[in-house]
Structure formats: C-alpha cells, structure tokens
Symmetry: C2
Subunit: 337 residues, 2 copies
DNA sequence: TTGTAAGCGTTATCAT
DNA sequence: ATGATAACGCTTACAA
C-alpha cells in the first residue's frame, strides 16, 4: 500500500541511469530531447511525484515556516494567518501553526518542536506570559530566520511587523474624550507585552493631550493565563466599585473586548448607557452588537502578509541581511452609530 | 551560520562510529553504560538535535498531518483546529493547515501540495464547491489515511466524524415552531454538502412532525463562492419579498448566521421583532447579541479531537483497518433569553 | 560492545 | 548526452 514511485523505478523501467532521469525531470539542457520526452511521458503515466523529504535532506531546507501565536480562535490571529498563508502558499511554502494558549512553557515547547522539525524560519507573536526569550535568541543566534509580528521582542535584532498600537490607542481614547467621557479606564493584558506598553502609552498620551489627569486605579492588567474571563470580571468589578466610577473603558485586545462585553452582559449593566467601550478588536461579529462599541481594527491580514514576505526574504537571502526593519501599519477606528 | 550538529560530528569528536553514537542516543541495550554516558553528555554539551528530515526519509513518514478546511477565520473551524492540535501535539505530530476558501480548485491544489509534502495523513472538511472528489479517492486508494470531519464524502470508505446535524436542525426548527412561528424559512449553503443535506432533512422533519406544509420558496441555498455576503443578502431580500413573508429563519452555518445578521442590520429590519433566527454557529461573540438568536452549537473541539485520534490510529495501524466508523456527536441548542 | 556498510530519494560532480 | 558515485543525516543488519 502506498508505495511511491521513485526516480529509480523510472530509471530501471526505461533502462536509464537515475541521473539521466533526474535531469530529464528537471529540465536541464544537457539532455537529449528524445530521452526527456520518454522519461516525462513515462513519469506522468505511472504518476511519479518527487519526494520533497529527500530534497529537504539534500538541500537542508524544508520549504516550510513555523507560526507561533497564542490562539487560532481569535479573530486577529485567524486573519493574520490568512495573510501568512496567502503569501506562503504562493511561494510554495507550507505553514505549520502552533498555539501557546498564552503559556510560556507551551511557547518554549512549540518553538523547540518547530525548530527541531527544521522549519526554515519562524513567525512569532509572543505569549502574554513570556518575559524570557532565550529560547528564541538561541535559535536566532544560530542563524534561524525569525520575524516577529504583533507581540514583538525588542531584544532580538530582526524584522518586526506591528500595528500602530500607540496611535490606535490614542485615537480610541481621544474618541471617548470627544464623545464627552471624562473618567476613562484602561483594561489591558499582560504588562510586559509590547502591545500593552504601546497601547498604554497611546492612552496616556491622549489623556495628557486633553488635560485629563491619569488615575492609576483606572488601569487594569489581565495577564490571562487561562482564566481570562475571571480576570476580566474581577477587573471590571473593581472598576465599578471605585468611588469615582469610570464612565468609559478603553480595552486593549480582541479577546479582552468581547470578554468585557460578556462580563457586562452577565452583570446586567447596560452598555453604553452607563459606560462607553472602545477596544482593539477584529471581530466582524462585533459589528452586529447593538449598544455601540467603537473598535480599533488592526490590518491583521496585511500584517501577516508583510511578516511572511520579510521572513521569506530572510530565508532566501544569500547573504545575511544587515538592516532590520520595524514596519508599523496604521489601525482603523471603527465607530458605530 | 546555523550548521547543525550531526551524529557524525559527535562520532568524530569522540572517536566512535556513527552507529555507536546513534545507539547511545537512542537507548538500545547493546551499548555500554560508559559509552552511552559520554555520548549523551557530549551531545547535550554541543546541543545536538536530531534531524527529523533524515529520519523521515529513512522511515518514510513525516510525523505530520495535513488539515484541509474552508476558512480558519470561522469559529467552528478554529475550535476544531484547537481540538486537532491538542491531540496531534500530544502524540508528537505536526499540523499543517490549509484553507480552500470554498474553492474546488484550491482544494485540489492544497490536497496535492500536502500529499506531495508527504504528510502521513489528511483531515478533510470539503469545500462547498466540491462535487468531484477524485483528487482524494486517488490518494486514498494509494493508501494515504484520510479522515473526514464535518463536511464528509460518502463515496470514500474511511472514518468520518460529524455533528448530529439532522437532530440539531430538527431541534432548532422545532424550537422556532414551539415559540409560535409558523412560516419558517431555511437559509443554507451549497446543496451538495453533506451538512446541508443533513440539516435540510432535520428542518423538513421538524415541519412534518408539526404538520407544517413545507414551502419550497422558503429554502434558499448560498453556495458562497467568495461572495457570501451578497448571496446572503439576495436570498434574504427574496424571502422578504415573498407574498407570504416568513416569520422566522433557520440558518445552517456559522458564517451564514453572522452574515444573515449583518444583512438584517444593514437593511434596518429589527430582529427578532419581525423575524426570529436560529442558526448553526459556534461564535461566542454571538452570545452578546441582544435581539436573541438561538444558536445550534457543534462540539467542534471534540470533533477535531476525535477525527485526529482516528487518523493517528489509521496512520499507526500495522494492518489495514477493516471497519470504518462514522461518529456522530450531538449538538447543543443554545437558547438566549 | 562496537564498527562497517547499505539504504531511504534526490542531485551534483566528475568521468566517459 | 549519459552514467557512476558520493553526499545529505540517520538507522540497522551484519561482521568483528
């Protein structure tokens, strides 16, 4: 069962050497048109398929790239994966996806798994638990091309693709301010993620630009190590229990935004009558949500595409690239009526 | 840059033969404890990592499985992928995901791509455009293990895992009937998909059980070949233009359910004041949607897990499996207040 | 217990 | 234009 045809089989059947067959199959000019024709026809007839594994062993590359994200079931990442796949597929690369579920251990394990399976490069968005990135520096130092997207590590010198999180956060916060809200809270994820830092900066900049004094009690971190909902609920309850209850929340993340809405729904607190919400989210289902929530859309598809292009460039570069680029793509403030 | 350590390097450094090193590394008994110790220590020291490609070439397997779905950005599939990944990861298999975007051509191309990259087996959910499955039968005949999930092909004799679509559809339709709706339309995808056929059957059975005469004009197919929204919009407009306008819709699909809600939102038709909707959907964001929509949840995660278990069983079976199982998992009717 | 050699499928190098 | 051979990294008879 499933005995694949090899070059050797063709050679034997046609009374040729394997090298001749190989040449015929690969269209070199050092072959007679006649032989080539015979080989190609016979190959087609018996359904010859080249064995990519043999090729990989020979050429020391696998024509596959590894992707490390926290969750596939997250609209931002699933859209980014679409972008990654669209480029990879066109260029003949396979995409191997792995999920960290926001766990550091799982990230280390996945990265090692992928590296040991000889992917030609890695597309990484860090888990929210990750602070130590030596599992990646190690591989990067050994020459494995790595491109970060979304949640990047500044410690590694390589290409990075992110959204303009700071500007997006600024715009969203400013939108809340201009809509008349004064006490704007900020719900965000793990404090050491690059996206959290950038978004917090944008939020603070907007407050400052409008002369609103920042209130530390208004900023809540949800590191989400598997209990996102509970963390979100606690944070929101704490916000609602404050003497000066916030009148709006700027939420920094896809899952966090929907999680936040769930909490409000379960608490039976009307939104936005009592409170306005603006959050980073790429879910188009959110458009259907009636009490308006303003969302900051990231160009997820384009980020995935660009990161992949950069990675393939690194992989296929003959000489090491000297200049590493940090590409920042603009976000889109999606305001519902 | 990135010159991986091989068994040969270790052998040379330690003055041993490659076979001895190989044996030490792989824990056979035909090796002295002393040699083993030396080899293991040195291997660890210089960071030896076995080359899985060489192994694949030797053992004629790649320890990777291919997954063919229509879209990753679909809550049903992203949850199923979670299930697939959870099992595959535990068993040391890689998961290579490819998307058809509901295109037959893309499906053929992806399947060939995966097969030629020597995956050890395939997990397939057919595209909505697919009627001819010879690209799969061909591979299956040659011995490639294939397990279908969700959208299955009855023409191929292999394991299949599906949700109880007929029962789910029956329950949802009956729920609408019991809620007092009489003129229940059915919005579904391509008419030749197994899920469409099963769901249509459940819908018709529920009508019959409650002595409601089926109205052919109430059944709308959306083959969605890339223009899902437009197709959905047309279908709904046609339904609304009927002399006897339906008062409820049973929708058969994740994307279709949210698409349907979008259309209503854009048409400014209140839901469910004018019309009730019940649909297959696994999106938890839908829970937030206020005008209630009843959703039929599929055990996507479990379906993914089960399909993967079956596939790995096929892959690792020494002797061909004779009995092929069609597993049917129950759905869950999720009724919102 | 250890070494030698062949083989997995392919291509590149050198002969012829 | 074609063939023989070695090599990619690893495992496994078979020999020693």
């Amino acid at each position: 069962m499933f005995e694949p045809v090899t070059i050797k089989d063709i050679a034997k059947a046609l009374g040729l050497s394997t090298s001749t067959v190989s040449r015929a199959l690969r269209d070199t000019h050092e072959i007679s048109a006649a032989t080539k024709k015979v080989v190609l026809e016979y190959a087609k007839e018996i359904g010859y398929q080249p064995n990519p594994i043999a090729l990989s062993l020979k050429e020391r590359r696998s024509k596959s790239i590894g992707v490390v994200v926290s969750e596939v079931a997250n609209s931002y990442f699933s859209q980014a994966i679409n972008g990654i796949e669209s480029i990879a597929y066109d260029r003949g690369y396979h995409v191997i996806i792995s999920q960290t579920h926001e766990s550091f251990e799982r990230e280390v394990s996945n990265v090692q798994h992928l590296a040991s399976r000889s992917v030609d490069g890695l597309l990484v968005s860090l888990s929210s638990q990750t602070t130590d990135i030596s599992h990646l520096t190690h591989l990067h130092d050994r020459g494995l091309p790595i491109v970060f997207f979304d949640r990047v590590a500044d410690e590694i010198d390589t290409h990075k693709v992110i959204a303009n999180n700071q500007q997006g956060a600024f715009d969203a916060t400013e939108h809340l301010i201009k809509s008349g809200f004064k006490r704007i809270a900020h719900l965000t994820s793990s404090s050491h993620l690059s996206i959290s830092i950038e978004r917090l900066a944008g939020y603070e900049a907007a407050l400052k630009a409008h002369n609103i004094k920042p209130n530390p009690a208004y900023v809540k971190f949800c590191p989400h190590g598997g209990m996102l909902y509970e963390e979100t609920e606690t944070a929101i309850k704490e916000l609602l229990a404050l003497p000066e209850k916030p009148d709006a929340i700027f939420v920094a993340g896809d899952r966090l935004s929907t999680g936040c809405l769930s909490v409000f729904k379960n608490l039976n607190v009307a939104v936005p009558k009592d409170m306005a919400i603006a959050g980073f989210s790429n879910s188009d289902v959110l458009d259907l949500f009636n009490p308006s929530i303003t969302s900051i859309r990231q160009p997820a598809f384009e980020i995935g595409q660009l990161a992949t292009q950069m990675l393939l460039q690194l992989i296929e570069a003959k000489y090491p690239v000297v200049e590493f680029e940090k590409k920042i793509l603009e976000t889109d403030l999606f305001i519902r009526n």
